[in-house]
C-alpha cells in the first residue's frame, strides 16, 4: 500500500475524504438532535485543506476561547479525532442538555462532564458512520476535554498533521437550533489508515 501525502493529494482522494466528512457530520447532527430532543439543522459542511499558517484565521481566530474534545482511535483506522465548539455555543448546548441556563463564565464540574459526554456522542456517531461506510473497525478511546484558545487547542492535531505534511484537513459544520453552533471536526488518520480507508471504498492507490 503506497503512502499518501496530504500535500500531493489528488482531487479524487480529497473528494472522497470530503464526502466521508459530510456523512460523518450528518450523523453527528442526528445524534445531537436525539440527545437534545429537538430539531437540529446542519449547513453543508465546509471541508478545507489548510496550511498551518492559515489555520487560526480560517477558524474564528487563534485567541477565541473554545471547547475541544479530543480522543484517540484504534483498530483498522488509527489516529485521533477532535471536535471543537466555541465556548458560548458549548455553554448553550450544555445548558439545554441539563435543562437550565448555565450561569457565569466558567464551566462547573457538572457542566464540564456533560460537555465531555456531548463530545463523546458527537465524535462517536461521526466515527460510527465512518466505520460502517468503510467496513473498518474503529475503536475510540476515552475523550479528553479542554477549554482554551483555539490556536492552542488546534496545535495538538496540527502537530500530528505536521509529522505527515504541511497541510491539515478540517471539516467545519454549522449546526442550528435556536442559535448557530459552529463546530469543527478534525480527523487525523495516520498514513496507513488513509490508504486503508480509500482501499475499503474501492479506490486504488
Amino acid at each position: 500500500m503506497g503512502d499518501i501525502s496530504l500535500d500531493e493529494m489528488s482531487n479524487e482522494y480529497f473528494d472522497v475524504l470530503r464526502e466521508l466528512g459530510n456523512i460523518g457530520a450528518g450523523n453527528a447532527t442526528t445524534a445531537l438532535a436525539q440527545m437534545m430532543q429537538c430539531k437540529v439543522d446542519m449547513a453543508v459542511p465546509k471541508v478545507q485543506l489548510l496550511e498551518f499558517k492559515e489555520l487560526g484565521e480560517a477558524m474564528v481566530g487563534e485567541e477565541t476561547v473554545m471547547a475541544g474534545i479530543y480522543l484517540g482511535i484504534e483498530g483498522d483506522i488509527k489516529g485521533s479525532i477532535m471536535f471543537l465548539l466555541e465556548k458560548a455555543a458549548a455553554k448553550h448546548l450544555v445548558g439545554k442538555l441539563m435543562g437550565m441556563e448555565s450561569e457565569g463564565d466558567e464551566f462547573t464540574e457538572m457542566e464540564f462532564s456533560a460537555l465531555k459526554e456531548v463530545g463523546n456522542i458527537i465524535t462517536g456517531s461521526y466515527l460510527n458512520s465512518l466505520s460502517s461506510i468503510t467496513n473498518l473497525a474503529i475503536y475510540p478511546s476515552v475523550p479528553d476535554l479542554t477549554v482554551d484558545m483555539a490556536g492552542a487547542i488546534l496545535s495538538v492535531p496540527a502537530i500530528e498533521f505536521a509529522a505527515l505534511g504541511d497541510r491539515m484537513l478540517m471539516i467545519q459544520t454549522q449546526f442550528f437550533d435556536e442559535m448557530v453552533l459552529d463546530g469543527y471536526f478534525i480527523l487525523i488518520p495516520d498514513l496507513d489508515s488513509y490508504g486503508r480507508m480509500l482501499a475499503a471504498l474501492g479506490i486504488n492507490i
Partner: protein, 161 residues
C-alpha cells in the same frame, strides 16, 4: 508608528524596534524570541516539532526546532543583529490534553522545549527567561526595544518574562 508583525504556526520573522512581533495561541508549539540588545533587532519563530531529521518530509524549515532556530539566527543576523550578542526567551510547549492517542506524540510539548534548549545551547545563545510546559495556551508578544516577552493566557493576568 510601530507595527505588530504576526507569525503563524510553522512560521518565523524578524522584527526591529520599535515594532513588536507576536504569535497567537501557542499550545504544544514553542515560541522562540531572539534579540540583539545593542541593535535592538530581534525575531520570533513558532515551531511545531522537535526534530527535522526524524521526519522524511522536512522541507518546511520553520516547522522544526532545529532548522527553525538556525533559520531565525540567519535572518536576524542578515538584518544586522550581531550573532555573538544574541539572547533568547522561550514560551509554550504545553500539554493541552491529559491523554494522547499516538504514543510518539505524547508529551510533544515537552519534547519541543527540550529540542529548543538543545539547539540554543549548541548555538551558544543564552536563554534569559522561559515560560514553558503546564497545560494552557499562550499568546506571546515580543518587544525588541526592551526585550520584554509579554504572555497572555485565558483567565490569567497578562505577564511578562
Amino acid at each position: 508608528m510601530s507595527v505588530e508583525i504576526k507569525v503563524g504556526m510553522a512560521d518565523l520573522n524578524v522584527c526591529v524596534s520599535p515594532d513588536r512581533i507576536t504569535t497567537l495561541g501557542l499550545g504544544s508549539c514553542v515560541g522562540i524570541a531572539l534579540r540583539d540588545p545593542v541593535t535592538k533587532i530581534g525575531g520570533l519563530a513558532h515551531i511545531m516539532l522537535p526534530d527535522s531529521t526524524t521526519i522524511r518530509n522536512n522541507s518546511n524549515i520553520p516547522k522544526f526546532a532545529d532548522t527553525g532556530i538556525e533559520e531565525l539566527v540567519k535572518q536576524v543576523t542578515r538584518k544586522g543583529a550581531n550573532r555573538s550578542r544574541l539572547v533568547a526567551k522561550i514560551a509554550g510547549g504545553a500539554q493541552m490534553f491529559g491523554f494522547n492517542s499516538n504514543s510518539e506524540m505524547v508529551r510533544v510539548g515537552e519534547r519541543n522545549v527540550q529540542a529548543t534548549k538543545k539547539k540554543l545551547a549548541e548555538l551558544r545563545i543564552p536563554i534569559l527567561a522561559e515560560d514553558t510546559g503546564k497545560n494552557f495556551g499562550r499568546t506571546v508578544i515580543f518587544y525588541p526595544e526592551t526585550g520584554d516577552f509579554v504572555i497572555r493566557a485565558v483567565g490569567k493576568q497578562e505577564y511578562k518574562i
